[in-house]
Symmetry: C2
Subunit: 272 residues, 2 copies
């Protein structure tokens, strides 16, 4: 390939780094594909770092040492976080979403990449420095959000199943009490899905009593895993006392009522 | 914000466009955030277009007219497609993946963002010009791949359920014969998940006889939806005659045998 100009290299560096968040690239990798000197690439990277900071689009970090290089660290700034959550709250506040039994229809939001991309980025930003090895969720509705979070953290996703599936091989199971039905259920995860002693982040779409999260917490103990955080898209205000502590909701749901309507708001903690 | 230099604007344009594939941005949007003239942004975009083409990183397209602007269209080039599929095939060819009953353990691959990102991009590249409104999958194992495909196409994902869930509201159901178990099962999708007359792309992780895909095809008829394509990560070589036609597998699986091992290869059609 013919030599690129500086502004072309800068654009290409941004593309490659941001397409693969938290992936470390060596300077050699770039000197090869751009057919340019190390000093040239270093100068390009200074420009990339500055523009990311100036426009609050995330950070480009340099890692020193033998296995060193540069990587892009996604960062959802406060303004974008606020805008995204306000937009999502406005969309949820539509009485046509109310389903008999005071449930909320949210599948259109929680399966739409445009929204889960943003919410996944918020969780990734919050849990970036926790050295997390796996994002863990239980099927089905939390999977898209959990995958996007794992995507920005650049780590594997683990999906816990509600049935013992043949394709998972040998599994570890855990009984839990579902908050919405009050029934005892069992969750299963492949024994080979999680290395012993790992750090995990639990992500789910909805939390009422916290029964599912508690089940996941107990299941993780069977792998000697440390749960470094629990992120949920929507948590109900009531019951205030949940079965788990220290969870981080993006949105707090006060009320779903056929007549009085839906009341909810972004979790203000995220803006401090 | 102080005025940016050209190479900073180019980097920022790449970041914003590529973070939101297939999302149309007006020139005004960029003149505002960069505090620059339209003519300046137009020149920047010429550079962005050229570097994308030169490095085969996708395309930046201009849409004329009142609702016009520019958008980034992801494009997985042949070399990257080949490299990604070869790498995934090598990882699957590990006898420790064989589960009693000649099943393959693949959860680590099909839930890992690093791999589903690439495979989703391949599907998005193949079905980009089909005017697709929704990506449709059935829970659970195909969800990550389907979400990433929907992400690059910038369209909603629809998840068909194996049980009739209260949070889906009124549902439409379809009976189908599962290829792996031979049993009749029922799938359900919310009535409000798909607009009548839409174009859909079906994505799943695995196809043997094609029973699940056939069920989805029949279910889509209930919405007067046109199925514009069926993409599966892995299809078995046998039975050659599937219950559906015109599906596109990324990988073709010849054999899973405890003694003889695993034989599979990328679908050569993708390289033509």
């Amino acid at each position: 390939m013919s030599k690129l100009k500086r502004n072309e290299r800068v654009g290409a560096l941004v593309k490659i780094l941001c397409d693969n968040p938290n992936e470390i690239y060596t300077l050699n990798y770039f000197t090869n594909i751009f057919n340019a000197a190390k000093s040239t690439i270093s100068e390009d990277l200074v420009i990339v770092k500055k523009l990311m900071e100036d426009l609050k689009l995330g950070r480009v970090e340099t890692i020193a040492g033998a296995s060193g290089g540069v990587k892009y660290v996604p960062d959802m700034n406060l303004q974008n976080t606020r805008e995204a959550l306000n937009e999502i709250c406005e969309m949820i506040k539509d009485n046509r979403r109310i389903i008999p039994g005071s449930f909320l229809y949210m599948s259109d939001l929680i399966y739409n990449p445009a929204y889960v991309r943003k919410m996944g980025k918020i969780f990734a930003t919050k849990f970036m420095n926790k050295n997390i090895d796996y994002v863990v969720t239980v099927e089905t509705k939390g999977i898209p959000l959990a995958l996007m979070t794992a995507n920005y953290l650049n780590i594997p996703l683990v999906i816990v199943r509600n049935d013992n599936k043949i394709t998972e091989g040998s599994t570890v199971s855990m009984n839990y009490v579902s908050g919405s039905t009050g029934k005892i259920q069992t969750m299963y995860v492949s024994k080979r899905a999680i290395k012993y002693g790992a750090n995990v982040l639990i992500i789910d779409d909805f939390m009422k009593a916290g029964g599912t999260a508690k089940g996941l917490l107990d299941l993780m103990k069977e792998f000697d895993a440390e749960v470094k955080g629990i992120g949920v898209m929507v948590a109900t205000r009531e019951p205030e006392e949940k079965l788990v502590d220290g969870y981080l909701p993006l949105i707090i749901l006060d009320r779903v009522d056929d007549k009085k309507g839906i009341r909810l708001s972004p979790n203000e903690v995220l803006f401090n």
